[in-house]
Symmetry: C2
Subunit: 217 residues, 2 copies
């Protein structure tokens, strides 16, 4: 198909398609004559993926390029694809304290989680622990073991989704998509569940009986 | 204390303190004489909270102002504080399709989650479902019920932390902090757990036996 059709199919403007190609995110189309280039279904799929990573996942062009390169290289093993995808998600992290890092390591030991020391989740979680300590909200830190227990379930689901997604190439793509877009999906579900739980516990305006469990201090 | 001491105690520059005061985030100090203003411990605490919300939570000044206003008003009930905090976290959301919204509502019914129709988590989760559908990664959508099950646990922990945090004012603050910083904490733990699970399933390089469960297609 022509670049104009590719644009129509994907909702990405011709200028942006050309930009992604120049930036090495999208393979060039096949030259089929003077001033004419042919694009295939692979381009449609790749372009939709790029768009999801950048627009919904908030990845920078440079981060998307690293992720796409890992996907293009079939020699990159799956655990490493996770690492690349995790490192690509934009997160500003301050340098965490040793105390906070110890708190994270304690939870990891408790759950039997083994990772490389460079796992980006460690400073990310530790920096939040520092924030919570600084503002005196340790009641959230006290719940770390229970949060970790729930996250264990989520990671198991993440891996099951990867395993169910087909051949190696597809699996790598699921890793990237699940990591980059998964946080947002989970944040959305958490907002829904928080309101549902809060209503259940605190909102007695429309309660038809007095048997709801109360959780006030 | 003087503004210079307040700055030292909190690591926030004098110029930024003045800016936050002008923007209505921080109450003004008490004038105790010509060109001299006195600040108390309340200012230290509030300033640390503002800094965590803006710098770690990524809230805009306007969003932080809405959140602080909800905290300052003791008439705002806790479920509403959740709503304000959830609405303050910056998320770009495209308008989701009806199909995606139905998928979210189905999960909500399954889990017995009741919310107002305007809960910000609904379009947030639905827009990710649209993205996943568009790029053909429905294996992640297939896992929605299991993700929701894990999120149910997380919301229960969220509410337990709120209940454990003290009087009404403290509880409202825990709601805000847990919502704004909690996503990042959970994202950090998820990255750690993902690597741990991936190693367990796929990485046999340093396995000392052959009994690990394999999850390849």
């Amino acid at each position: 198909m022509r670049i104009s059709q590719l644009s129509e199919r994907t909702g990405v403007s011709v200028a942006t398609i050309k930009y992604y190609t120049r930036e090495g995110l999208l393979p060039a189309g096949e030259h089929v004559g003077y001033n004419s280039t042919d694009y295939g279904e692979d381009h449609v799929e790749r372009l939709r993926l790029i768009r999801a990573l950048i627009e919904s996942g908030g990845l920078s062009i440079a981060a998307a390029r690293r992720v796409i390169a890992a996907l293009n290289d079939s020699d990159v093993p799956l655990p490493e694809v996770f690492g690349v995808a995790q490192g690509a998600v934009p997160r500003e992290v301050s340098v965490p304290s040793e105390t906070a890092l110890d708190a994270v390591r304690e939870v990891m030991d408790e759950r039997g989680w083994v990772t490389v020391p460079e796992n980006p989740g460690i400073p990310l979680a530790a920096s939040v622990i520092d924030d919570l300590t600084r503002i005196g909200h340790t009641e959230l830190i006290d719940q770390l073991p229970r949060y970790a227990e729930a996250i264990d379930l989520i990671a198991a689901v993440d891996l099951d989704a990867v395993a169910a997604s087909g051949d190696d190439e597809r699996q790598a793509e699921t890793v990237v998509v699940g990591t980059v877009l998964g946080d947002t999906l989970l944040a959305g579900l958490r907002r829904i569940a928080q309101e549902a739980h809060t209503r259940h516990r605190y909102d007695n305006d429309d309660a038809d009986d007095g048997t709801e469990d109360e959780a006030t201090s």
